[in-house]
């Protein structure tokens, strides 16, 4: 017994409803203040403060002081990925009471996952990049091929700039709603940023949802060469 890392510690940390609500809110990628997180979790500031300290101790979140505000963010892309995996598990092992409301449908179509795009549109983009050989598996993990570099270059992303930074360029991230992979890593981040910059889509306030405009959707469809399936 007692083999491997202490999984209970971290799961227990995530396992409190207040804390998991906070972490879920942080999946939007935006740094939030302690007060905002308290409101997300539906608890008072005092209680939130205590929870946030535990999350900090557990290295699940980082903090940044700015004036009299204290901003919290997920510590790491790995934390985000783990949360997505848990979401997938929670969904499929859930007591079938997955009431899919309209908000849920929007989330399934396109949402922010930490700092990149997730949901149906993200997995479709991922599939497109795989089937065209833009992305391929290498021993070191997922890699962008030369045609792939041209593809994202044409989309307006400066690969040289991205590659210079530390951290992985391409990463797979499991999509809880689609149950398959989408693109994470600094390239995934850059793609989401470009989609928003170009005005193809906008972030919904206080939500992970990413809402495409009709025009943006059409351009996205053209990008991945689809027939524009609504």
């Amino acid at each position: 017994m007692k083999e491997g890392p202490d999984i209970a510690r971290i799961a227990n940390l995530i396992g409190d409803p207040a804390r998991s609500n906070m972490l879920t809110a942080l999946m939007s990628g935006k740094a939030l203040t302690a007060t905002e997180l308290a409101s997300e979790a539906g608890i008072t500031q005092q209680t939130a403060s205590s929870h946030l300290r535990k999350l900090l101790d557990g290295n699940l979140v980082t903090t940044r002081q700015q004036g009299r505000h204290r901003y919290f963010a997920l510590a790491d892309e790995r934390v985000a990925r783990s949360l997505e995996v848990l979401m997938e598990l929670a969904q499929t092992t859930g007591h079938l009471r997955t009431r899919t409301g309209p908000a849920d449908i929007r989330l399934r179509e396109a949402r922010v996952c930490y700092n990149h795009l997730a949901g149906q549109m993200a997995t479709r983009l991922f599939d497109h990049m795989i089937s065209h050989g833009y992305l391929a598996l290498a021993p070191s993990g997922l890699a962008l091929t030369e045609p792939g570099a041209a593809f994202v270059g044409a989309f307006g992303i400066d690969i040289a700039d991205l590659s210079a930074r530390r951290g992985h360029l391409c990463r797979e991230c499991l999509d809880w709603s689609e149950r398959r992979s989408h693109l994470a890593g600094s390239l995934g981040r850059a793609i989401l940023a470009r989609i928003l910059d170009q005005g193809w889509a906008r972030r919904e306030a206080n939500s992970r949802a990413v809402v495409f405009s009709p025009r943006g959707r059409a351009q996205f469809e053209r990008l991945i060469g689809g027939e524009g399936a609504t």
Copy 2:
């Protein structure tokens, strides 16, 4: 707030030390009785019974009655994968008190992950299969190429038989110790079975460890064309 699946429920389920010890024990892939799991977790049978009921209710484990024994196993490959992801997170966010004992070193080299091989040797095999084009990413996920089918065929695995079964043939599974992927799915399962059948390695009792014989190790090295790095 309250977006997405209820992650707290499942994390809380895993977050109890007794339950996480049970789940970790079940990562060995073997079905264990309630009494064995109680001993793994260091608790009495009564307490274990209560925990196991919760794990059943949460659909994390399945059960099978056999005489007066009741065998428990992980419900699903997805559960195993989620546990591995949590292990990775637990390890990297741990309070650096990762005392790597000798048992730990064996685990890192080769261990069972649910029903397939994990650890350094597994990731090396995975890398080998990727870099030789035996495995490739397809829109539907990881796929075995034709050269790959020949490779595993030469290893003594009947692909036609495996493909006929339901469930994924190839799956990536994140390795917590190596922080990269190894091969899961029914092919991963078959490869581990073949390694054990051929006597290249044996399972260690009451452990996830897989111990290679010197001869088995040499043959494994030859398989992946390595120089036999110890």
